[in-house]
Symmetry: none
Subunit: 214 residues, 4 copies
DNA sequence: AATGAATGAGTCTTCATTCAT
DNA sequence: TATGAATGAAGACTCATTCAT
């Protein structure tokens, strides 16, 4: 955990040091990767869109793949940040009387993140299938850290009799599936007349009922 | 619907006419596309793996993209086939007393399909973000046909008092999310000690409870 | 000369034996070669336009180049036929009192030929620069036979005092240049309001005056 | 005319900016195009002969066709330069008492040009039939500018009674045909014992007599 | 630090030609 | 005789990366 935190700090703080050109490169690359995919995007396109010379990209990122990792790795960390930030996590565990409240907070928090990072998240999701290291990184972080923390939370609410006696992994699976389905619908299908409040209420009700003890 | 059926027949039956070389090409391409993605797979790799000359690929598929479409389009149709085959659908609607039974049948049926078509489905899912025509095709078929048929089914069980008064679209979303999450876990995470029967039971119980009227 | 005549007969008569498919192939190839050039025309295009299978072309013509030669060689012979047909030639020499009359007959005769063979002639002219054998063939036939026959004719009219004492080669050059310029203008530039009779009269007058003794 | 001059300046001066590699590419391409034709010359051949990597060609010329145009367009302009350079033209009109003198100057001037640009001119002539844009460019420049300027000159000498009352277009046609025939003989047939002075004298005499009033 | 010209391996695709049917 | 599937070499062009300036 110490090591992870350190690496995360490095990654996240490193973005403070970026020159404007570097930021342009990252922004351009993210946009193109999200749109056409990593493999179908050429470094010359990125350079053009970023307004820099092609050589400049390779001064900052040794290879094209390096550029991808520089985008994807910190994002993956930020995706799961609520689960690895100890302080916040403690709060989560104890601040919310009911599992529903915890869920609602979680959704709101991640929603805010998505609103600001839609493209990068798209890149992460789209590229994971093609890059084993990314997959490993993802499994290691999400599967390990998130599962661990989430389990504790679930057990907490199970102890309070709010969740049925189901394996925490199954709870995690169902909760994530439903929330992901919600986000996917909102951000990809983008239906007209989408009533956010009502949708979230229904979603939480569905989850709570489905997970409640008989 | 007639037109769709016809096109489907064409697509699906066309696979009967395939020469052995064509089948090799499709198999090799599917495998590589699933593994490395369309854009990162070269036609020379495909040719080598298929045991044919590179030129042979282009005799059968005008472009590399054409080859992708020849893999993906029929698969998309087969993915949703239970929803567009009138007869099966009727059966589904009426044969199952309880919504749970309908769900169980559905899951079994699609599971069998996945068991035989895992790779192609992987290609479909992975490539959709990068090819607008695929997305359109998908939305048109799934969003239209599946939604429509599924809605009828949902309303049928709502009338029987087994499903709460939720918009069918929301029911569809939650059901698909949970089932997809189940498949994703099974096929991607592939956890050790996976007890299929028990998982399906839990999954159906979760859905049924979550969707049941208060 | 005997050999030439024989080869010519072979070439020209051989066209009688052609099957319909062969004729289609020759016609299609001629059209495409005239339009896009030999090197830029593919055998598959020719096959398609001729309505035959690609293999069929190679059954009749061993190589693509062979097909070109089958078009070009007989045409080259027909282009210069008035000079190698002994009988006609004799007539030419003696039937026309004045050089002008000879020229007029010549132009009319070649014009008729061009009207029927414009495309093939186009191919001949366009491809000669790229195929040394064609150039050689051309020089041998035109440079040898035509020059020889035309020289006799010129000398005949020089003896009659109608042409100045210029080397026959120079006369040939100027006469051909002017006639070619005339045809080029007519067939390529194709100016509106082209009065054929008047143009020919002027052309002959120009040549006659230019070549006349002081 | 202003626009043309500008474009010409651009085209011609642009050749000053060429790097050595670019010059090598142009030289190699010209040589190969002249010898085998545009369509039959591969970019890899050009690269090899120019001593550069194949990619380098495409850094300077977006397509192979672009490379052709970069060779052909400025050459076409230089071919007709005596007719579009106002100052020279004025001189031509007035410096020469007799049409013969004008012709002699013209021939000498163009001969010098040909001596230095034989290959490029070959390319222009050989490729025009296959590239409509080239043909259009040629017709527009030669047909328009040259015809116009030459007409004025012809009318000048007609007014002086040196040329018969023939349409200037016809004069232009005959003069160009004969001069082209002269150049073709000199550069293509390249006969032994060619006496340049004598040939030009005869040629001019032929033209002058042929065009003189009765 | 930034450039952009240069590279050559690699891309998709087309080609002329062959051969089993 | 005619077909058209199959070939693999070659085509034009693009790519990620390097390096001298």
């Amino acid at each position: 955990m110490e090591k992870l935190d350190k690496r995360m700090e490095e990654l996240l703080q490193s973005e403070g040091d970026l020159t404007e050109k570097q930021r342009n490169i990252l922004a351009a690359a993210t946009e193109m990767f999200a749109q056409k995919g990593f493999a179908a995007t050429s470094t010359s396109e990125i350079a053009k869109k970023a307004g820099v010379a092609e050589g400049t990209i390779f001064r900052h990122y040794k290879t094209k793949k390096d550029l991808l990792l520089s985008i994807v790795s910190p994002t993956m960390l930020r995706m799961i940040s609520p689960f690895i930030l100890k302080d916040i996590n403690k709060v989560l565990n104890q601040d919310y009387e009911r599992f529903e409240d915890f869920l609602r907070e979680m959704i709101k928090n991640r929603q805010a993140f998505l609103d600001n990072n839609l493209q990068v998240v798209k890149v992460v999701i789209q590229e994971i299938p093609f890059h084993p290291e990314l997959r490993d990184q993802f499994i290691q972080h999400v599967g390990q850290k998130v599962y661990q923390r989430f389990s504790e939370t679930v057990q907490y609410y199970q102890a309070k009799g709010q969740i049925a006696d189901i394996p925490p992994a199954t709870v995690l699976r169902n909760v994530s599936s439903v929330i992901l389905g919600y986000f996917a619908t909102k951000y990809i299908v983008a239906p007209v007349g989408w009533d956010e409040e009502k949708e979230i209420d229904e979603l939480i009700a569905f989850l709570a009922k489905g997970l409640a003890p008989e």
